[in-house]
């Protein structure tokens, strides 16, 4: 098990190198730092001195890959590639184009992201499993059919409509809670209710329809028929046999997204003005802050790979038949 985890972490290294090379290519080769400077300073009448100054203040005034002026190992470390890409491996994100410490910002903004994402995930899981169980229990009847149709209808609505509609109905029309904002302390709940509720509702359609297929798949297996044949009550079959086994794909599906919860949700956070990592990313994209986007790409990749490793470990826990070698 331990050796397996070590090996998986080692596999992650070439992937991270690949991601880094790709982002490096996108951000520094497709457009040179000169282009970027011109973009930030405005298109017209930019003096070469201004470009040089902008590049120097943001650390883009070094050669891309190989510094011929430097001595020894400096030939490789005194470059943009080393400064901006290799350092990410040590989680040294450097400074944003506005001059803020990205690492500090990320640590600050993780908590608000989690404060929304974790309750939304747990509550959503509960609601989706309940609906899916209900549909699977009444499979083939009108409850099931209309449930599935409702799910498809809910799935066909863009997440943005849920957010705008929810904000309008619950916050503006009925004045149940503030439209947007964030606060620490006891007031936090007031601000969190609406985004969490909308997060859960917008996920019901796809979530419960997906879980329903897991339940139906389990319900068709032989051991379920055996359980019924030996005279177990239907509720016992549903909860002890089907639910427990269908939970395996559900749990692993949840575990893979767990690390990514840190990244927050782009839409929810920006609509509700929550100072999390999602709104941080959106602001960076809108302000064309390339340093932050680069940092977030790297962070997202690391978290995704951690999620994959966690899934493998979870499999050995929830399904004893799986052995990692």
């Amino acid at each position: 098990m331990f050796a397996y985890i070590i090996r998986r972490v080692a596999y992650a290294i070439p992937i991270l190198i690949g991601v880094n090379v790709l982002t490096f290519y996108l951000f520094f080769v497709v457009n040179s730092p000169d282009d970027m400077a011109r973009m930030h300073l405005g298109q017209k009448r930019v003096t070469p001195e201004a470009i040089e100054k902008w590049k120097a203040s943001h650390g883009y005034n070094k050669p891309l890959l190989l510094n011929r002026d430097a001595e020894g190992s400096g030939r490789f470390t005194e470059t943009i590639f080393f400064d901006k890409s290799v350092r990410l491996f040590a989680f040294d994100f450097g400074y944003s184009d506005e001059g803020r410490d990205i690492g500090h910002d990320i640590r600050q903004r993780m908590l608000p992201s989690l404060a929304i994402a974790v309750p939304a995930l747990l509550l959503g899981l509960l609601v989706n499993i309940t609906f899916a169980l209900l549909m699977a229990f009444f499979r083939g009847t009108y409850v099931d059919v209309s449930g599935v149709i409702l799910c498809v209808i809910l799935m066909s609505i863009s997440g943005m409509f849920y957010i705008i509609g929810g904000q309008y109905l619950l916050a503006k029309l009925f004045r149940l809670m503030p439209i947007s904002g964030y606060d620490v302390g006891p007031d936090m709940v007031r601000y969190l209710v609406l985004p969490v509720v909308i997060g859960v509702v917008s996920g019901i359609g796809s979530g419960s329809r997906w879980y329903r297929t897991f339940f139906l798949e389990e319900a068709g297996k032989d051991y379920v028929r055996t359980a019924r044949a030996k005279g177990l009550s239907e509720s016992l079959v549903q909860f002890r046999h089907i639910l427990r086994n269908a939970l395996i794909p559900i749990v692993t599906g949840v575990v893979v997204v767990l690390p990514l919860l840190f990244m927050g949700s782009l839409l929810t956070e920006s609509f509700f003005a929550i100072p999390g990592l999602g709104s941080y990313t959106i602001d960076a994209i809108r302000n064309q802050d390339f340093a932050v986007v680069r940092a977030m790409v790297f962070l997202g990749t690391v978290l995704y790979i951690i999620g994959l490793i966690l899934v493998d470990i979870t499999y050995t826990i929830v399904d004893p038949r799986v052995r990692l070698t």
Binding site: T23, I285, V297
Partner: protein, 473 residues
């Protein structure tokens, strides 16, 4: 004089349409391909979504026939110049919908502007009133009290027209079917409406009649009112929504067209060749898959923006610029979404290469490339088809989100994402401007729902697992 304009996306869209038509003719002669399609055609929900999807596709294709009008020359000798504005066949069909611009916001069916303005009175004074709209309800003149009656009359007329057209279509269909089946058309009509036909024609006719009702309503009402209101600069929202259809369709289809060759080639290669090729392909798709999709798209589009900003000379009109951006968006979306299909195809090819008929082909000395194209490719096509159809609705929805984030289509382009993005501020106004959001919602929801229902039917018909389940019951 007009000059046709063929944008990159237009060309690709028509190429795709041609491919689909060729495939239909090819599939008609192959019973094993026809069978699952026949099952789809027997579904009632699937067929009514097909009717709706076709309507969207026709609008999208019409909107892809672009042209520029020649400007009137000052003297006969000078060469003709063309207007900078690129129009499409849809603009011709929608008539004056494009040109009837008001000053600013006006509600659906309104006769007055939604916001107060200072207006000079005839007697010399000034007043702050809701000014009369220039076009909305102009035919009413001063008789504004007749508005409700006028709308009711036009609605009634449209419904009557729709019912008549529906009846006419039923008759024509019955005649055509009667000729093919060799029975009397009265018999056929009876069979259609007592649901004794293989294909659920009655449902299709019903959907078509409803669709016609909407079309006639639009024709009769939109010519004199702003049915869905006007936006901030006074453009008709219905027109904007109609123009957005093409964007949505393009994102949903071109992305797939772009990614398919990669996904199929790499997936089958990896699964069939194994060894180091498999390792390389797996490495590529794991790496691409590890990057959160939105961020990769954002990074790529940001870089494209820098490139476009630094090379303004490459694009003749704004439409060409936004067109390139749309195409590039499709490519980027394709790069982020081909990995799933590639993985599925690799797995299936790994399985197929061990099967007896492939081993037989190998022992007969059939070349590897021939085995891959003639023996493996046709047997993984169902996976390709299911993925393509399932991805469509997700891509249409993704466009809205990406446009909101600021890395979607060009802000000057008509798209539902841009409409929703604008509606965000409108919803915060007092009083609320709700109709842009509602229109984007209605159009998007209809398209995505139809696509979802259709894709479910396709998956049920082509996925071997569900077929086996049904056969076992």
């Amino acid at each position: 004089m007009i000059k046709p304009v063929i944008l990159w996306t237009d060309a690709l869209l028509f190429l795709l349409t041609a491919l689909v038509v060729v495939f239909i003719f090819y599939a008609r002669r192959k019973p094993h391909i026809r069978r699952p399609w026949q099952r789809i055609f027997q579904g009632r929900i699937a067929m009514s979504s097909v009717v709706i999807l076709l309507a969207f596709i026709v609008i999208g294709l019409l909107d892809s026939l672009h042209y520029r009008v020649a400007l009137e020359a000052n003297d006969a000798a000078s060469e003709t110049h063309y207007a900078i504005e690129v129009l499409s066949a849809l603009d011709v069909l929608t008539g004056t919908l494009r040109t009837r611009e008001e000053k600013s916001y006006s509600a659906p069916f309104a006769t007055h502007l939604y916001i107060k303005e200072n207006v000079d009175l005839p007697d010399g004074g000034q007043a702050r009133i809701y000014p009369r709209l220039e076009y909305g309800g102009r035919h009413l003149g001063d008789g504004l009290d007749d508005k409700a009656a006028d709308i009711a009359r036009r609605t009634g007329l449209s419904l009557l027209q729709a019912v008549l057209a529906g009846a006419l279509l039923s008759l024509l269909l019955a005649l055509a079917l009667a000729r093919r089946h060799g029975c009397s058309s009265k018999d056929m009509l009876q069979r259609i409406f007592t649901r004794r036909t293989d294909i659920p024609w009655h449902i299709m006719l019903l959907t078509l009649t409803l669709l016609l009702a909407v079309i006639f309503l639009v024709i009769n009402l939109a010519s004199v009112y702003h049915v869905l209101g006007t936006d901030k600069v006074g453009k008709d929202v219905l027109y904007l929504s109609l123009k957005s259809i093409r964007t949505g369709l393009l994102i949903g289809t071109l992305t797939t067209l772009v990614m398919l060759p990669f996904a199929i080639f790499m997936g089958i290669m990896a699964g069939y060749a194994r060894g180091w090729i498999d390792d390389v392909v797996q490495y590529i798709y794991t790496t691409l898959n590890s990057i959160p999709g939105v961020l990769l798209i954002a990074a790529a589009i940001l870089m494209l923006q820098v490139y476009i900003a630094n090379h303004p000379e490459l694009f003749e009109t704004t439409l060409e610029r936004s067109d390139i951006r749309l195409l590039f968006l499709c490519i980027i979306l394709g790069i982020t979404s081909w990995t799933g299909l590639c993985r599925l195809l690799r797995g299936e090819s790994l399985k197929l290469r061990e099967s007896e008929y492939i081993q037989a082909a190998v022992s007969f000395g059939v070349s590897h490339s021939r085995i891959m194209t003639r023996h493996i490719l046709p047997n993984v096509m169902h996976i390709v088809l299911i993925t393509v159809v399932l991805d469509f609705s997700g891509l249409v929805l993704a466009e809205a989100v990406l446009s909101y984030v600021g890395v979607g289509v060009d802000p000057t382009m008509n798209s539902w994402g841009n409409m929703i993005n604008g509606a965000r501020l409108e919803m915060a106004r007092e009083p609320v401007v709700w109709w842009s959001l509602l229109s984007a919602f209605l159009f998007m929801f209809t398209l995505v729902l139809a696509a979802n229902l259709f894709s479910d039917a396709v998956r049920d018909a082509f996925d071997p697992r569900t077929v086996v389940q049904r056969g076992g019951k």
